[in-house]
């Protein structure tokens, strides 16, 4: 092989791949700044002739963008807080506390990971309807309050907490809850951050369940609202692109900031199979 050709090939292919990966995202951003109708031209324009925020103004003043953004933020925050408390406590207990049937229950939970969540959706809907939670955020938060994957992630990490440390705290007279709050939680910090990023991204991006359980338009999250808007406004390319930017930019930024923590969760999660 000609020397110098191989590096060119490898880097060239990666550059091509990165272009394909990023082009739709960059074009989304560019088209969101175009004047209405500008993107529908041949050849398709790459950049706006004159960048404008008109689509964002329209999105936030007339299309309910502010409301959906607030809904998504509130719901993501609520699910993350609730499910972190529940999963961290359970993951810690499965790793470090003794109770009857602990290992058998844990194995059973792992076994149920093969069941797709969608199988439960119809009865879950009926149950939530019975509880008066359909068409409320409770209907999204309550079923998401515990996650087997989250418990697994915390448990694997918590196994490495030295038991001596816990014994020492107990001898000093710390109750189980004090021990958890002042020793365990700080020790689990890295995995808590990882699980928080995972939960935030998952909740923000979730589509099917919020689509089913939230029927009142005022409660829509960004993905549900965007899907419904895009069915109505097929012609308003630029407006839809602004909606897509508002929907996906927060999670992209969150990922860029906390990339390492996210990848850690991804690696740990891939062992679950």
């Amino acid at each position: 092989m000609i020397p110098g050709f191989a590096p060119l090939l490898v880097n060239g292919l990666l550059l091509g791949g990165a272009t394909i990966s990023l082009f739709p995202l960059l074009w989304m951003l560019s088209a969101s700044l175009m004047a209405p109708g500008e993107a529908s031209a041949y050849p398709p324009p790459l950049l706006p002739a004159r960048a404008t925020l008109a689509n964002y103004r329209e999105l936030f003043t007339h299309a309910g963008g502010a409301r959906y953004l607030a809904n998504s933020l509130a719901l993501t925050a609520a699910v993350t807080l609730v499910s972190l408390s529940v999963n961290v406590a359970a993951g810690y207990a499965f790793a470090k506390l003794r109770f009857a049937g602990r290992d058998r229950i844990f194995k059973l939970l792992l076994g149920t990971l093969v069941i797709p969540a969608q199988v439960a959706m119809v009865p879950l809907f009926l149950l939530l309807k019975h509880l008066g939670l359909v068409n409320t955020y409770g209907g999204v938060i309550v079923p998401a309050a515990a996650s087997i994957f989250g418990i697994f992630l915390v448990r694997q990490y918590a196994l490495s907490i030295p038991s001596d440390l816990m014994e020492a705290a107990r001898i000093d007279g710390a109750g189980e809850f004090r021990l958890f709050r002042s020793i365990i939680v700080p020790g689990l910090r890295p995995i808590i951050v990882t699980l928080a990023v995972f939960t935030m991204l998952g909740t923000w991006n979730d589509f099917m369940w919020p689509l089913i359980v939230l029927s009142d338009q005022d409660l829509y999250t960004l993905p549900v609202a965007l899907a419904s808007l895009s069915r109505e406004h097929v012609q308003d390319n630029e407006l839809m692109m602004a909606g897509a930017v508002v929907t996906t930019l927060p999670v992209l930024l969150l990922f860029l900031v906390l990339q390492r923590q996210y990848i850690r969760g991804l690696m740990a999660g891939s062992v679950k199979g």
Binding site: L25, I105, P116, V122, A146, I148, R231, L266
Partner: protein, 292 residues
């Protein structure tokens, strides 16, 4: 002094939520699939009747069910291998010693994974536009005539596959890259000393060392691809001519559009059995391959 009560205090909330809002509904779905639960039963449970296997029998007679099954299989049979090959190729490139700006490339290739599916599906719908879309424009510059990607029943599923691979290959890429990085250098060293070419090194060191990871990745990806829903919901609404109706899309329409909840539960169970069977099959194949 160790109170078992305290331990239960820590796990009880999680177990309660999982049992009440996941495990019991799964069992209830099975029970529901043997009933004619519909809009009338939704109004008054007294209208509910047991119908045995009739939901399943009706399903098997329904052309749309077979179409949805066929579409989903098409999506998975083409999409899963394609996505794993792309992931593997990207991982190999990123693992190469010759790469510059590795972390930039890794982040760029992974970025679509964290984007919101609905948002990027809306974006791709415009990229697929017959007249003004970038895809046809790019293909046009290569002399290929415009394709009606989302409007032609022959092209709608390939378009969704292209989109799905773009969206998801980065996930497996990261896992495979970690696998490549965990192969000890000594193995390659030994192969080189034995005079193995790069290709032989790839075939005799890289592939066998990665095989367990590839099996796992393919099981998880298959399960994921069988859950196709949001892509057709946003991009094609199941059309054209129902060429992109997936099993889950059918369940959604049966259950939450027509409120045939008994029949929707039957669809959900068929999907579960299918995913379960494929998981077992892939594990068996992997073991058989290993033994051979």
């Amino acid at each position: 002094m160790r109170l078992p009560g305290a331990a239960w205090g820590f796990v009880a909330p999680a177990l309660l939520v999982i049992a009440v809002f996941f495990l019991i509904p799964v069992l209830a779905a099975l029970a529901l699939s043997f009933t004619d639960f519909d809009l009338y039963a939704l109004a008054d449970v007294a209208n509910l009747r047991l119908v045995g296997l009739r939901n399943y029998a009706r399903l098997l007679e329904k052309p749309l069910f077979w179409q949805a099954l066929g579409n989903t299989l098409y999506f998975a049979i083409v999409g899963v291998p394609l996505s794993i090959v792309v992931s593997f190729g990207a991982a190999l490139l990123l693992h190469s010693r010759l790469v510059r700006f590795r972390s930039f490339f890794r982040t760029a290739l992974f970025a679509p994974v964290v984007t919101t599916l609905v948002a990027v599906a809306v974006v791709w719908r415009y990229l697929f536009d017959t007249r003004y879309g970038w895809l046809n424009y790019t293909l046009g510059s290569l002399g290929i005539r415009p394709i009606d990607w989302l409007g032609d029943p022959h092209w709608a599923m390939p378009a969704i596959i292209v989109f799905a691979v773009w969206k998801s290959f980065g996930y497996n890429m990261i896992i495979l890259l970690a696998g490549l990085q965990s192969i000890p250098d000594a193995l390659y060293e030994a192969a080189r000393i034995d005079g193995a070419s790069s290709w032989r090194q790839f075939r005799d060191v890289t592939l066998p060392m990665l095989a367990p990871i590839v099996v796992m990745v393919s099981i998880l990806t298959t399960a994921g691809y069988f859950q196709l829903f949001a892509e057709p919901y946003v991009m094609t609404q199941g059309g054209p001519l129902q060429s992109t109706v997936s099993v889950l899309y059918l369940m959604y329409e049966e259950g939450f559009k027509w409120w045939n909840l008994g029949s929707a539960s039957a669809v959900a169970f068929v999907l579960f059995l299918l995913i379960f069977a494929l998981t077992v099959l892939q594990l068996r194949l992997a073991r058989w391959e290993e033994a051979a």
